[in-house]
Amino acid sequence: MNRNWKQDPAVWSATEPGVIRFEDTETQDQLDLPWNVIVHNDPINLMSYVTMVLQRIFGYPRVKAETLMMEVHHLGRSVVWSGGREHAEHYVHQLHGYQLLATMEKLEL
């Protein structure tokens, strides 16, 4: 990332003449990390049902919903959405309402 170290107060501050202290921005980065919503495979839920649920909850076109469903089926899990925490919680709750196995986890950088 190209940042102008002399002009960007977010990344440095002078506490005494001749000393430049770099601010620790890790905490803010952690707060901003997106969350993944994950659907897990189970032996009972129908493929057509999982596809329909993904279309209804996320508004995905059928082809995308089917692709994600097949990923769940073959790989055991699929990240079906990524974004802010509150939205992720809402989506996981909706998926649970349709009785799909679903969790959320912070995106690993």
Binding site: D42, P43, I44, N45, L46, S48, Y49, T51, M52, E89, V92, H93, H96, G97, Y98, Q99, L101, A102, T103, M104, E105, K106
Partner: protein
């Protein structure tokens, strides 16, 4: 064979319900009564954030009661609609479709948990009518066939 289709007037018709089909549908409320049994309940009320115990507990405290209500409502709607089956047919409002899908799927999942049914069990071609597990797998298929028709509406 039953048929699920739009019949106009914001209604869905479920037709072709023979005695055998009706008997299986009438079993659903008895199956759903086991939703909160130990070993079954965990399938319906899940952890959302396994990596964070506090956040997970907060999520469960807020969401589990809503799910309880959702699942119980679906069951009530289905029971009322089942009581209206006449001459192998029942018409339900569009607004009941979600409840039927929920109830059918819950029944499948409860049977799956009870009998630890796996994908290979559902692919098996051999069937022993005296084997409870085989009969349960057959019911999972039956409810799945009806659920599939609902997904295609």
């Amino acid at each position: 064979m039953f048929i699920v289709e739009h019949i106009g007037g914001e209604s869905v018709g479920i037709g072709g319900i023979d005695e055998w089909t009706e008997a299986l549908l009438m079993e659903i409320p008895r199956i759903l009564a086991h939703r909160n049994d130990p070993g079954v309940r965990g399938r319906f009320f899940q952890d959302a954030v396994p990596s964070e115990a506090d956040a997970n507990a907060e999520f469960r405290a807020a969401m589990d009661p809503e799910l309880e209500h959702l699942f119980a409502s679906a069951e009530k709607i289905l029971i009322k609609d089942l009581a209206r089956i006449e001459d192998g047919f029942v018409a339900i409002p569009d607004t009941h479709v979600r409840a039927w899908m929920d109830a059918l799927n819950q029944a499948r999942l409860i049977l799956g948990e009870w009998y630890t049914i796996e994908e290979e069990d559902l692919r098996a071609s051999a069937f022993d009518p005296g084997d409870e597990r085989d009969v349960a797998a057959l019911k999972v298929h039956f409810f799945g066939a009806m659920l599939h028709q609902f997904t295609q509406l």
